[in-house]
């Protein structure tokens, strides 16, 4: 079976250009509010077919220029995003914002140079430290879609607070929990909330750098904002609290499952066998993401149950 799979991967690799013609992500700017557009990614993990188009990115057309929020997973993604933006407006790119340091949110930065690229201090540091390693990983997971991609570190440290840009009042909210540095952008003019990966919708949340107790705090803060549309980092936008509640519900179940397992002395593999409640059956990738989260979060939780002897 493994041999067969190996063969299949090779086949896909070599025949990739046949069906992924010209590495076209098929990006389509979907209007979600006045002057506000969204590219909605697939609810999948990175692979050779989707090329990393698994994330939501968006843009706001203001009187002063375009504000871009997250740039996708590769140089090609950024370029195709820019081409789609150009179908809507000829205004200059005023500013690019990266919500956090995960590769599907900033590896398209290259395409927008020389526009200013801004992110929170912690995100800038994360991209500086891990950007090249992330790009290498994505080459391995998506192949030639990544050609020519290099990590571009944001050149502006974004200060939390309110910035008025060409008739849009943008509120930059510094949070953490999905990573050590997560930005939410709330457009007070249109009521659109770009929540970054603090909110997932019908797609299981990911935890490689998660700090669950901070994530809960962040979700509570987001829930209090008077948004009209919420753009999750992954999954369809919503106009109510459902995506925040779904994210919180799964995260709470995950943490409780890990803590209960550690308190019973379970091994990692035993925790991975936990039955997933029916209400999460609709979350894409729930089984594989549970396994990943056990690896990310269980060692720390397990350690708390052990006592120092010497």
């Amino acid at each position: 079976m493994r041999r067969l799979l190996g063969g299949l991967v090779l086949f896909i690799f070599f025949s990739q250009p046949l069906f992924a013609a010209k590495f076209d992500y098929g990006l389509n700017a979907k209007p979600v509010a006045d002057n506000t557009y969204l590219f909605i990614g697939k609810k999948e993990d990175f692979n050779f077919q989707n090329g990393g188009n698994i994330v939501n990115s968006g843009f706001i057309i203001t009187d002063e220029g375009v504000v871009v929020i997250d740039t996708g997973s590769s140089r090609r993604y950024g370029e195709q995003m820019l081409a789609e933006i150009r179908k809507q407006t000829n205004k200059p790119i005023f500013k690019v914002i990266n919500t956090h340091h995960h590769p599907d949110h900033f590896l398209g930065n290259q395409a927008f140079k020389p526009a200013p690229i801004a992110a929170l201090k912690g995100t800038v540091k994360g991209i500086k430290n891990s950007g090249d390693m992330f790009a290498e990983n994505l080459y391995r997971m998506t192949g030639d879609w990544m050609r020519g991609t290099e990590a571009v570190v944001p050149d502006i440290t974004l200060q939390p607070g309110i910035e008025e840009i060409g008739g849009h009042e943008l509120e930059y909210i510094e949070l953490s929990g999905h990573t050590g540095s997560d930005l939410a952008v709330f457009d007070r003019t249109t009521g659109v909330l770009f929540a970054g990966d603090l909110v997932f919708h019908n797609r299981t949340l990911t935890t490689p750098h998660a700090i669950p107790e901070k994530w809960f705090v962040a979700l509570d803060k987001l829930a209090k904002l008077p948004f009209k549309v919420l753009i999750p980092g992954h999954g369809e936008p919503v106009s109510d609290l459902s995506a925040i509640e779904q994210t919180r519900d799964y995260l709470r179940w995950l943490v409780t499952t890990l803590e209960n397992g550690a308190n019973k002395g379970l091994s990692m593999n035993e925790v991975m066998q936990t039955e997933i409640p029916a209400r999460f059956a609709g979350l894409a990738l729930v089984k594989s993401e549970l396994n990943r989260s056990v690896v990310h979060l269980y060692p720390g939780i397990e350690k708390k149950t052990l006592h120092k002897l010497n």
Binding site: R2, G265, M268, V295, K303
Partner: protein
């Protein structure tokens, strides 16, 4: 010349087959025969479903791959030997169950996709083998450990952490020892790892013995199912002759 070599190789494998048959690998790994010759050739080898090896299909963190072995359906176990044939250091760990259940869990470092296998030697001198493939992005054996990178490993070397849960017939026991478990494959960092861990009761009777090799995770956590009652004495030694000991008082 090439033909000549092929003939030689065929003769070689025929003579091997007549000495001790190497069973065909259900995991289809090209390294299987070499592993048998390197580690298992002294005894007959059979694949056995009673040797259960559990690990995730994909190694999310190549320095921290969880593996669980349960061979408790077999009796008369002398030794359980774990290896991953595509690792630069294939040997992972040997476990001698002694007075404990032949089931345990820990985590290890993987360099690339590989089967991980448990070979269980029974008193009748047969290796019973079970295993699974683990896919991996890789690099676990040639990266420095987190505490090496943080530079504070020496402050915690040999600290022992443990907990015991009474779970019916056995005592679930977790033991963790702070140690960088350096593979020797990172430039400038020689191999430095715990070589042996002995668990005994107060009468000095062996409860279980573990011989880790370099690929066992940094600051390893071992999950074991020991027999009932009494305190547990933990004694460990690494390849630099550092000795660590602690006692779980019950």
């Amino acid at each position: 010349m090439r033909l000549f070599l092929c003939v030689l190789l065929m003769v070689g494998s025929f003579s091997m087959a007549s000495a001790e048959e190497i069973p065909e690998d259900p995991l289809g790994s090209i390294q299987w025969d070499d592993m048998v010759r390197a580690y298992l050739s002294e005894h007959k080898v059979v694949f056995d479903d009673r040797v259960k090896v559990v690990a995730p299909e994909f190694a999310e963190d190549s320095m921290n791959v969880p593996v669980s072995v349960d061979a408790s359906e077999l009796t008369g176990i002398k030794e359980i030997f774990l290896f991953a044939e595509f690792n630069p250091i294939p040997k992972i760990l040997k476990f001698y169950p002694e007075a404990s259940k032949a089931a345990f869990s820990f985590r290890f470092k993987i360099q690339q996709a590989s089967p991980v296998r448990a070979a269980v030697l029974t008193n009748d001198n047969i290796w019973h083998v079970g295993g699974v493939w683990i896919d991996a992005a890789g690099g676990g054996c040639t990266r420095a450990s987190d505490d090496r990178l943080a530079g504070d490993w020496a402050d915690h070397l040999g600290e022992i952490y443990a907990a015991v849960w009474d779970t019916g017939t056995v005592r679930r026991t977790k033991i963790s020892i702070s140690h960088p478990m350096d593979t020797g494959l990172v430039a400038g960092i020689p191999s430095f790892y715990i070589e042996e861990i002995q668990l005994t009761d107060d009468a000095g009777k062996l409860l279980a013995r573990i011989e880790p090799y370099e690929p066992v995770q940094e600051n390893p956590v071992f999950t074991l199912d020991l027999g009932k009652n009494g305190s547990i004495n933990i004694e460990a030694i690494d390849n630099n002759a550092n000795e660590f000991s602690a006692r779980i008082v019950r």
